[in-house]
């Protein structure tokens, strides 16, 4: 909660506005009571005429307007403050996601991150829009009210001073007890409330097994158990708030009695003072209780804030870049020297050295988890290098300009991402600026997707991606190829699909990569024997290290693990 509070108090102008408005509101509350009492006192005790009390009524109207107006402004300020802090949090989260080196290499947890950005941030709303304004009011207004009460009758003030502290103390005890009770029942509650979801999820299975009907009873039963456990928790919460309410009622009662006694028996209190006190005292206790419920709202924000802090406090390493521009269209020599990368406890790649000549074809092979994808991401400049170097035509990559590097690079992954938009936009994402329709047609033709696109009613304007037409895995691959044809990169990283695609895509994939490789270096995480065979060099990774490098003939002759792979490949008995 401390972090959230700090965020709130950084909003200095909002906080000062809240302070001023709270003071005004407190004054208006006192004013309202004064005028109420003056009117009643006037006509009832002093037998004034209606004309005589009219100014008080006007004063009362003013006090009411100020009270409501400041209440409105306080609420608005809270909403404004919440909005600007939420915006700040969201921007920070986006920034933080962007700097997460793993984001580019894995797609996992993306769903969680979206929910962090949307839901967790929204959950902090109550803290800023409700709790903070209430907190400030609770610091200011009760003290003002208390001072007003003291000015009229110091004994009442004393009674309040003695009884009021019970409220926050009790509030704390209540909160703690309820939380304990809830924690105690947590497992049970989760299980009961999970049953419904469990059954809904398994409904197909249940129906196929002819068990649909029986589940009604189970839902009923678990709902009933859920209700009873929840009521147990709630009962203790309600019981505590009953006590709380009773304390404030009791205090009001004591005060009423005291005021009454002094009014009747000792006759040392005016009607004005007595009535004034009786109006202000309930207000005073309501303020305290409101704070209690706002505190409850605030607690809901805490876990959301913790999740965000976890994200913010993640260790970040950045890929380093410089400002040397790479010449356009020149295929560079790549020299990888003693490259290492690890993340957290995981050790992913160690001491990889490799010289990649321009226009060469490299196949990276190895078991899953051997570090193939990590190597690709390091070469691509998507992951920061821990140790070692990648030289591009002799220049360390960290001295190269980021944009000019990516301009030379295409990465065709196993599941290329299609953005929400038209097919044309998805192909054109490969280049900056606005490629002509002819260029896009050309690229699509080379990638073997032109005919299919033309056969669609809306052609290149067909919407794909989220909320658009679904494309098959093979078609997505071809869109990615079209992107590469349009971009004309000098370095291509290609993650060959592990599962068989449709025959047409398979054929196109081979042809296209061959054609692209005429003007580029191609590094492939290879799963197909022909790709491996056709490579100039094969890099065999084992457990994050290079176990062997060389052309097919060399490895086939000398390297046992590679030899072991081969009969499997040619013999036809796949598994």
């Amino acid at each position: 909660m401390k972090d959230l509070k700090q965020l709130a108090f950084e909003q200095k102008s909002a906080i000062s506005l809240l302070i001023v408005m709270s003071a005004l509101r407190g004054a208006a509350m006192i004013g309202q009571a004064v005028f109420f009492v003056l009117v009643v006192d006037g006509v009832f005790i002093k037998n004034s005429s209606f004309e005589e009390i009219t100014p008080f009524l006007i004063g009362l109207l003013l006090a009411i307007i100020i009270r409501s107006g400041t209440g409105y402004l306080i609420g608005r300020t809270g909403v404004d403050m919440a909005a600007s802090i939420k915006k700040q949090l969201r921007l920070r989260l986006i920034q933080s996601f962007k700097e997460d080196p793993l984001l580019s290499s894995t797609e996992s947890h993306s769903g969680q991150k979206v929910s962090l950005l949307m839901d967790a941030v929204d959950e902090t709303d109550g803290f800023f829009s409700k709790y903070i304004p209430q907190l400030i009011q609770s610091y200011i207004i009760p003290i003002m009210l208390l001072a007003a009460i003291f000015s009229q009758n110091w004994t009442t003030g004393l009674i309040i001073l003695v009884t009021a502290p019970f409220i926050p103390v009790f509030m704390a005890i209540v909160g703690k007890r309820t939380k304990e009770k809830a924690d105690e029942k947590m497992v049970q509650l989760n299980r009961f409330s999970g049953t419904f979801l469990d059954i809904l999820q398994g409904l197909t299975t249940l129906r196929l097994f002819g068990q649909g009907e029986k589940q009604k009873e189970k839902i009923k039963e678990s709902s009933k158990n859920f209700r009873d456990s929840t009521m147990d928790v709630l009962k203790s919460a309600f019981m505590s708030s009953l006590t709380l309410e009773y304390i404030s009622m009791l205090s009001i009662g004591i005060i009423a009695l005291e005021v009454g006694l002094r009014l009747v028996v000792f006759d040392n209190l005016t009607f004005f003072s007595a009535f004034f006190i009786m109006i202000l005292v309930p207000d005073f206790f309501t303020m305290l209780k409101d704070f209690g419920s706002a505190f409850h709202t605030a607690r809901g924000s805490v876990s959301a804030s913790q999740m965000m802090n976890e994200e913010f406090s993640k260790e970040r390493k950045q890929v380093e870049w410089g400002d040397i521009e790479l010449p356009d269209g020149k295929v560079p020599q790549l020299d990888i020297g003693h490259l290492s990368f690890s993340y957290g406890q995981q050790f992913e790649l160690a001491d990889v050295s490799l010289a990649i000549k321009p226009y060469s074809k490299i196949a990276v092979i190895g078991k899953s988890g051997s570090g193939k994808t990590t190597l690709m991401n390091l070469i691509a400049g998507l992951l920061p290098i821990d140790d070692g170097d990648i030289l591009i035509d002799g220049k360390p990559r960290k001295e190269i300009d980021e944009s000019s590097w990516f301009k030379q690079l295409s990465y065709i992954s196993q599941s290329p991402y299609l953005f929400a938009g038209t097919i044309r936009e998805n192909i054109a994402i490969g280049v900056n600026g606005n490629p002509s329709a002819k260029e896009i047609d050309e690229a699509a033709r080379k990638a073997g997707i032109h005919e299919l696109v033309e056969s669609l009613p809306e052609g290149y304007h067909t919407r794909v991606g989220e909320g658009g037409r679904g494309l098959s895995g093979g078609e997505k691959q071809r869109i990615a190829l079209a992107r590469a044809f349009l971009k004309k990169p000098t370095i291509i990283l290609f993650d060959e699909p592990t599962t068989g695609l449709d025959l047409q895509t398979e054929r196109i994939l081979q042809q296209s990569i061959a054609e692209l490789s005429r003007n580029a270096t191609v590094i492939t995480v290879a799963h197909r024997l022909h790709t491996i065979r056709d490579s100039d060099q094969i890099v065999y990774l084992d457990n994050g290290r290079v176990a062997a490098v060389g052309p097919h003939e060399e490895l086939a002759a000398n390297f046992t693990p590679y030899q072991n792979l081969l009969p499997l490949q040619t013999g036809g008995a796949m598994r």
Binding site: I64, Y417, R528
Partner: protein, 568 residues
């Protein structure tokens, strides 16, 4: 409001709890008004008289009302929450009853966990219906009526003003703001949807964005959307503050009017000044009960939307099918010109597929991913309806048979098989509730899971088992079901190949008479099948035995060649 009728009906089924909650709610409200009224009266009376007895009587009243109000409030909360949770249970059951007939089709049509998350969320959010939508206006109405009746005795003007105040604060203002909220609500939702979609793209497509140097543009887009969403939320928040302040202001103005009229009539001698303070205090007190109404518009809108969404999910009428039972004994299944199109897609997932699966035959359905293999299986097993063409069971149109009777004869293993929280035993018994432990253990033995105890805990969605283990458990469940026709959708894709082959062999040996239809993306071991069906893009490319297909060097041969090239 009509959208909420169903929920209202379910709520009112809990007559006792709901009426008790209302009674105590009204008592609590009236007691709190009475408390303030008596304190107003006490002071006025005390100012005039020196009698201690009056003071003591009223003082006692004060205590009584205070205690009464607090205790009633406690009971009110207890009963209203109990009613709410009972209602939620009823809602779940009633929703389940409507969803159950539709579920298999819905789930495979929309293939998303989103649907379920939405259902659960909507059902939960309806718990506010009684507590914050239905119940506050009713209780307030009764509290106001009671209060107004009491004040009529002292001052008709006060009574009229209170009635006006009620109409304004409990009816007019909430209705007005609910209406406004409804009008602009879609904008907040739309901006939220847009932001969340862009954020998902940013995260899922991060690598492509980065390599294509589009990251800055996307970031700008997201930050614009953050602004947009934020503005909408800000407006929404302000609207709520506005509605709240408006209500509070009207309440205070009404109290002012009561004071003014009271003062006027007191000055004119038509009202005993003794009651003036009391009437003012009554007004202040009764409007304090109005607080829950401030949140009414948003809760009303939320409940309404949740109810509409839930209804829209189960609104589809279950498919009208015949109710005949399948004939006893083995089945032969065929399809004629079968097509299927998923909702919101133009391209058919199945396009004019005609196949024959004779009784006792073993058929494999193969093809690249997305070629329609699982869809074909789903239509054959009557989970999805054919868009056109038909499925024939023993030469009769399958439309005349009930789903239950078709499913009863099938042993199904889907790609996603659900396991319920409980034990292994409870999960296996779904297939056969009468099976004894020996039979269950034997089934486990058949899938090489004999080492598992039946007592083993199964966690949510079976997450304590590996993918391969879950597939084998699903097969064990299918074994226990004792149907005639096996429909298996990539049943051993996560099982190591030796065990996979072993399980297949056992199944084929144990049930030589039965029909097998197996979807597979793995082309090995298909020599044993009687028939291989090859799909691409929803179309039937080829069918025939392994040898036939290899000889004809067509599509299957091509796929096979690629597979030999691929090393996983």
């Amino acid at each position: 409001m009509s959208e909420l009728t169903h929920v209202l009906k379910l709520t009112l089924r809990e007559k006792r709890d709901v009426s008790l909650a209302i009674v105590f709610g009204v008592l609590a409200g009236l007691a709190s008004v009475a408390l303030l009224a008596s304190s107003g009266y006490l002071i006025s009376k005390a100012a005039l008289t020196g009698q201690m007895t009056v003071l003591i009587v009223i003082g006692a009243c004060l205590k009584l009302f205070g205690l009464g109000s607090a205790v009633s409030r406690y009971s009110e909360r207890l009963f209203s929450h109990r009613a709410t949770f009972t209602m939620l249970g009823n809602l779940r059951v009633s929703f389940f009853e409507r969803l159950s007939p539709l579920a298999p089709e819905l789930y495979s049509k929309y293939r998303s966990g989103d649907l379920l998350a939405r259902i659960i969320g909507d059902v939960e959010s309806l718990q506010n219906f009684l507590l914050r939508v239905f119940y506050p206006p009713v209780v307030l109405l009764l509290v106001f009526m009671g209060t107004i009746l009491f004040t009529v005795y002292f001052s008709i003007y006060t009574a009229i003003l209170l009635a006006i105040g009620y109409l304004l604060t409990a009816v007019a203002v909430p209705a007005y703001f609910a209406w406004r909220k409804r009008r602009r609500d879609w904008r907040t939702r739309e901006s939220r949807g847009a932001l969340s979609a862009e954020a998902a793209e940013f995260l899922y497509g991060f690598r492509d964005l980065k390599i294509h140097r589009q990251l800055a543009g996307k970031e700008q887009q997201i930050s614009d959307l953050i602004d947009f969403y934020n503005e909408e939320q800000r407006n929404e928040g302000k609207e709520e503050v506005y509605s709240q302040s408006m209500n509070g202001f009207i309440a205070l103005v009404i109290s002012l009017a009561i004071l003014a009229s009271g003062a006027y009539f007191t000055a004119a001698g038509e009202l005993d000044g003794l009651f003036l303070a009391m009437l003012v205090m009554i007004s202040l007190g009764v409007f304090e009960n109005m607080a829950p109404m401030a949140a009414f518009p948003s809760h009303f809108e939320e409940s309404r939307k949740a109810a509409v969404r839930l209804d829209s999910i189960v609104d589809e009428m279950p498919r009208v099918k015949g109710s005949s039972d399948l004939p006893e004994g083995g089945l032969s299944i065929s399809s004629r010109n079968l097509s299927y199109v998923f909702p919101d897609e133009q391209r058919p997932a199945l396009d004019d597929v005609s196949i024959d699966l004779p009784r006792g035959s073993k058929t494999a359905i193969v093809g690249p991913s997305g070629s329609g293999k699982s869809t074909l299986l789903a239509v054959l097993m009557d989970i999805l309806p054919a868009r056109s063409g038909q499925v024939l069971i023993n030469s009769a149109n399958s439309e005349k048979f009930s789903q239950e009777s078709i499913w009863q004869s099938l042993n199904v293993v889907l790609q996603e098989n659900h396991f319920f929280q409980g034990t292994l035993r409870s999960n296996l018994k779904i297939a056969d509730s009468k099976a004894n432990d020996d039979q269950l253990a034997a089934a486990l033995e058949r899938v090489e899971l004999g080492r598992f105890s039946l007592e083993m805990d199964v966690e949510e969605k079976g997450q304590n088992f590996s993918g391969g283990e879950k597939q084998r458990l699903a097969i064990a469940r299918a074994i226990l079901k004792k149907g005639e026709v096996w429909m298996l959708d990539e049943p051993v894709s996560s099982v190591d190949s030796a065990t996979g082959q072993l399980i297949y062999e056992r199944l084929f040996n144990d049930y030589p008479e039965q029909t097998f239809i197996i979807v597979s993306h793995d082309l090995t071991g298909l020599e044993k099948m009687d028939q291989i069906i090859v799909l691409e893009n929803g179309k039937l490319m080829e069918k025939g035995s392994y040898d036939e297909l290899m000889r004809s060097k067509g599509y299957f041969y091509g796929l096979k060649e690629i597979e030999q090239q691929v090393m996983a």
